[in-house]
């Protein structure tokens, strides 16, 4: 769907932020984009949506070069959700806020109404459609930002640190929403520093380090014992579940969540008890 080819970018007076980076995003991907601060994550996503133009290289959307397309055009294909939803919310009700994007398009009344209704339903905001957006919690405001992007019916959604400032339950709810959207066929690129979320929810991980892509593969592979030392060098933290799974005398292999880890350990204990009591895990 999205093909980034040999893209380089530099801010004036600074070292290159991206160095000949290539990345292909397939329809329905769920990608975790990670890297330490200043590694080029945000620059890359800004280039994807047309907020920044690369110095060299090209960005192809369905085979068509997008370098001449501004973000307002790209919004039809790629939704961008900023870290701080308060920078975009300004209308009196949630429904009106979500309708802002569709109003910018040349859509009929029916199409517009349907787009807003769909976006509210997909994000679970129907019950607060008439509420004042700024009076809602951060978690709700972040959902409004996601709904606003979804109202334009994009095929890919890029979220820049969407869970910041949210408690554990709110994070879980938001990630559950992203899982659901992904199951409905919407591609997700999640920019995050939270490696637990990355491991638990994304299928593919892309790591940037000093403007270069240093890892692109299955998320479980990123935290496998062979790459774990590099992960620390790239400024990332190995999630506790992956660390525990790797530390066992007989490593458990790829584990994504605490529940999965517990199940595997219990399963092994049961098996070991049957075979040889007291055997190492």
């Amino acid at each position: 769907m999205l093909d980034i080819q040999q893209v380089s970018f530099a801010y004036p007076g600074h070292a290159p932020a991206l160095k000949e980076l290539s990345l292909t995003v397939a329809a329905g991907d769920f990608i975790g984009l990670a890297g330490r601060n200043g590694s080029g994550k945000t620059t890359l996503t800004r280039i994807m949506v047309g907020l920044a133009k690369p110095v060299s290289g090209q960005v192809l959307l369905d085979g068509r070069n997008t370098l001449q397309c501004g973000p307002a055009v790209m919004a039809r294909a790629i939704g961008y959700v900023f870290q701080n939803p308060d920078r975009q919310i300004f209308r009196d009700t949630v429904a009106q806020e979500v309708a802002f994007g569709p109003e910018q398009m040349d859509w009929s009344d029916n199409e517009r109404t349907q787009a807003v209704a769909d976006a509210l339903r997909m994000t679970g905001l129907e019950s607060v459609a008439a509420a004042y957006p700024r009076g809602l919690t951060r978690s709700f405001r972040q959902r409004i930002a996601i709904a606003s992007a979804l109202a334009l019916k994009p095929r890919l959604l890029i979220l820049d640190e969407p869970t910041s400032g949210q408690d554990a339950e709110e994070k879980a709810q938001l990630m559950s929403l992203l899982d659901e959207l992904n199951q409905q066929g919407i591609g997700i690129i999640l920019v995050t520093h939270d490696m637990e979320l990355l491991l638990a929810h994304t299928r593919r991980a892309v790591v940037l380090h000093q403007g270069e892509k240093v890892f692109d593969g299955q998320t479980e592979e990123l935290f496998a014992a062979t790459t774990a030392t590099k992960v620390s060098e790239w400024g990332l933290r190995v999630p506790d579940v992956a660390a525990v799974a790797a530390k066992l005398e007989k490593p458990l292999g790829a584990v994504r969540t605490v529940e999965e880890l517990a199940d595997r350990i219990e399963g092994r204990l049961r098996g070991d008890e049957r075979e040889k009591p007291g055997a190492p895990m």
Binding site: G13, V49, L51, G70, P71, A72, M74, A75, R76, G79, Y80, F82, N84, D86, R87, Q88, I89, F90, F100, G101, P102, Q104, M105, R134, S148, A149, L152
Partner: protein, 222 residues
């Protein structure tokens, strides 16, 4: 200028503005502009201020040219453009070379301005780059939702609500947070001290003497 006391820098800016007001001949105004550009280079701010100065020169040029159809003499039009530019560059130079906490301390301790007013002044200045950054962020956020300003001037004006409203709401929220943060850190106490070094040294007195001499020359020969 970075080595001068904040109040000395402020006085230099004020005097540059006063001279600009007094002068109506393009040549001395151009000389003042040249002096400012030399000071920018001397202060090591050429790279940082090159773009704003270039932008200002375009605005000043436009300002001069737009007066010509109204029977304004060419030297007067040029002088008007130069006046605007010299005064603005003077303030750019001040803010590029003087730290705002030092300026606040100088206004309070040396110029005897009440702290609340000095703080208000410097806070307002500090808000300008924040405001520009916020404006850029809001514009980007709305553009990613399909916002494109209309070519129709009326529709364009109405559509600016999508940019202005979030900025105003954010500014109110931030000012509330800042007010609370200040109160919680003892803002408004009757007696206070400053950690900034603002005392005058020999070089400051030298600059003040030159300012006085230059002012006398401008008043006598303008």
């Amino acid at each position: 200028m970075k080595n001068l006391a904040p109040l000395c820098n402020l006085l230099l800016t004020i005097m540059l503005s006063v001279w600009t007001v007094l002068l109506w001949n393009p040549l001395p105004l151009a000389a003042l502009l040249a002096l400012e550009l030399i000071l920018i280079g001397y202060a090591g701010q050429a790279g940082k201020l090159a773009r704003p100065v270039l932008g200002l020169s375009l605005v000043a040029g436009f300002f001069a040219v737009i007066q010509l159809p109204f029977d304004v003499a060419i030297p007067t039009a040029i002088a008007s453009g130069l006046k605007m530019m010299v005064m603005t560059v003077a303030f750019l130079l001040l803010f590029a070379t003087t730290k705002l906490p030092g300026l606040t301390a100088a206004l309070v301790k040396q110029a005897r301005i009440p702290y609340e007013y000095a703080f208000l002044f410097t806070s307002a200045l500090r808000f300008v780059p924040d405001f520009l950054a916020e404006s850029q962020a809001v514009r980007e956020a709305q553009t990613c939702r399909g916002y494109v300003p209309s070519r129709n001037p009326v529709k364009r004006l109405i559509s600016y609500a999508a940019l202005v409203e979030p900025m105003v709401l954010r500014a109110i929220s931030r000012s509330e947070t800042m007010a609370m943060s200040l109160e919680l850190r003892g803002f408004g106490s009757a007696r206070r001290t400053f950690s900034q070094q603002i005392e005058f040294h020999g070089r400051d007195y030298l600059v003040l003497t030159l300012l006085a001499a230059m002012t006398a020359v401008v008043v006598l020969y303008r």
